[in-house]
């Protein structure tokens, strides 16, 4: 059975990818699952300078979901390149680096710094984090800006560039098309859906940041719908995810057109989920008589 797939030039031995921000820099679950055990790992968002992130509480559970308002806490690209990347490189993992910035210039600078680093196979452009004041959501919600940022980043790197789309938009297809026409090699979707939670006893929002990003099974129907829509509208490959908790969920994303799937929140509940999903996809393919992933990718599109 062949589980190989390709995200716009990023070759994966299997289609299960660790989503940004939910697997740190690859070694947080050592002993249970490592970066070499999965199709690829997307690192926690890296910014030009260190970011402190949002005040706590940063997490709230919601029905079949969770809100997070981490606020892109990270030590900055220099620490990433000197401390985290070398170890990842040694592991032989397929590493995709998620980058975020407050300005175009930051994205461009980050992309060129990362493009020359050894051991990186692709760049995921986080243009959709809803938790940052500047850049962040505003950026990912306008087709023009998405075009501009993808285009600028493409000019400074030879690495495959994969913008990660925000679901908090009226028309996801329009955004995806803008990304494609700017030369995006693949599209990653979806990031979290903006939400909030309230504590009725304290009469206060639960999150320190008031708003946070909703992830987990609750958003799966929304993510599936958006992948379905975008698959019909663009030709570049899609990394699909949002609420994947089982092989069944992952297969749903493949069927609506994702060439690979991302597992985020699910890892918190079952650290070995990504590996179990890979095995579950194999079982499914065997049961249905498929030998290659292309036989199921997009098969449910009417």
């Amino acid at each position: 059975m062949n589980l190989e797939t390709d995200l716009g030039g990023i070759k994966l031995a299997d289609p299960v990818v660790m989503a940004s921000g939910t697997f740190g820099y690859g070694f947080g679950y050592e002993g249970l699952i490592g970066p070499g055990d999965v199709g690829a790992i997307i690192t926690k968002a890296t910014t030009r300078e260190p970011w402190a992130g949002n005040p706590p509480p940063r997490i709230a559970e919601t029905p079949c979901g969770m809100l997070n308002a981490i606020g892109l806490e990270n030590p900055g690209v220099e620490v990433f390149l000197s401390e985290y990347l070398p170890r990842l490189r040694k592991s032989g993992a397929v590493v995709i680096v998620n980058i975020a910035g407050r300005t175009f210039e930051e994205y461009v600078e980050l992309a060129s710094m990362i493009g020359t680093a050894k051991g990186v196979r692709g760049i995921e452009l986080n243009i959709s984090c809803p938790n940052v004041d500047m850049g962040g959501m505003q950026l990912g919600t306008s087709p023009d800006m998405v075009y501009k940022i993808v285009d600028s980043v493409k000019q400074v790197t030879h690495l495959p560039v994969m913008p990660k789309l925000s679901p908090n938009v009226t028309d996801i297809v329009e955004i995806a098309k803008a990304a494609e026409s700017a030369g995006a090699d693949a599209i990653s979707m979806i990031n979290t859906v903006q939400g909030m939670a309230v504590d009725i006893e304290t009469k206060r929002p639960i999150l320190g940041n008031v708003f946070g990003g909703l992830s987990g099974p609750a958003i799966k129907p929304i993510a599936l719908r958006m992948v379905y829509q975008v698959y019909q509208a663009v030709d570049v490959p899609i990394l699909g995810g949002g609420g994947i908790m089982s092989a069944k969920d992952a297969i749903e994303f493949l069927l609506v057109g994702a060439k690979a799937v991302s597992v985020g929140t699910g890892t918190f509940i079952n650290p070995r989920l990504a590996m179990e999903i890979k095995a579950g996809i194999e079982d499914y393919m065997a049961r249905h008589g498929h030998t290659g992933l292309h036989e199921i990718i997009g098969a449910a599109i009417l």
């Binding site: 939910t22 697997f23 926690k44 992130g53 940063r58 559970e61 509940i269 650290p271």
Partner: protein, 283 residues
Amino acid sequence: MFFLENAEIIRNDRVADGIYELECSASEIAGNGDPGQFVHMEVKPYSVESVSPLLRRPFSLYGVTREQGTISILYRIRGKGTSILAQVKPGEYLSVLGPLGRGFTLPAEGSATLLVGGGMGIAPLVYLADRLVRLSCDVNVLYGAETASELVALDKLQQEGAKCHIATMDGSRGYKGLVTDLLTCISEGEPTRMSTGKQACTDIVYSCGPLEMMAHVAKFAKERGIPGEVSLESYMACGVGVCLGCALRLRNGDASYAKVCSDGPVFSMAEVEFGAGEGEVRQ
């Protein structure tokens, strides 16, 4: 080093109104867990696949029996997760991730130690007391609860050989009032005769419980120059340091936050900013 074990529930007994003690087999965690560390438990009914409640729930190690490969936790029903947990029956299985976090720093053999616990905060201190007694320490526990029936860990503490000093809010057992009032009694030589004057004869203080309680204990320790540690809470997603969800601003921290799950849950009292409202209260 931590493990993911599919743990068989051995006991899950109601030990007081709304308070339960759960024991399960988890040999790796039992073999490696230290006092102050915690487990991150899946909470689901009937061992049936379920995505609600979604996240694991963190609980301190309350007891460990290495020989039998079992661990126990002590918990109070607070919301949906603990309500479901309280219904889980012996023979069912739950996935347990652990041991997680940084536990308590153990003192030199034979030290004089003071443990101050309130409510469910007693849980990690019970396991700690056990270890301290094995280290031939003098172990004094100030143990506070709402009412006598909630002093569910008392027998265990006494069996371990800890000296227990009780406070209940309703006076149904021991001193009537806050457990922290006992600190003053102690420092005034009454009623526990642990020390005389301002110089308490305690080498180290450990505390876990409501934030205000821990703040009070920290102040007490600071005034007397006694080192101390507290165990804190926070909402957690991963429990292992990858999600940055359990952030806590430390007193002398630089711009960045500490992670309760992996930099803690045990912190030096000196580090913690008790006024800041960060970290959750365990009651």
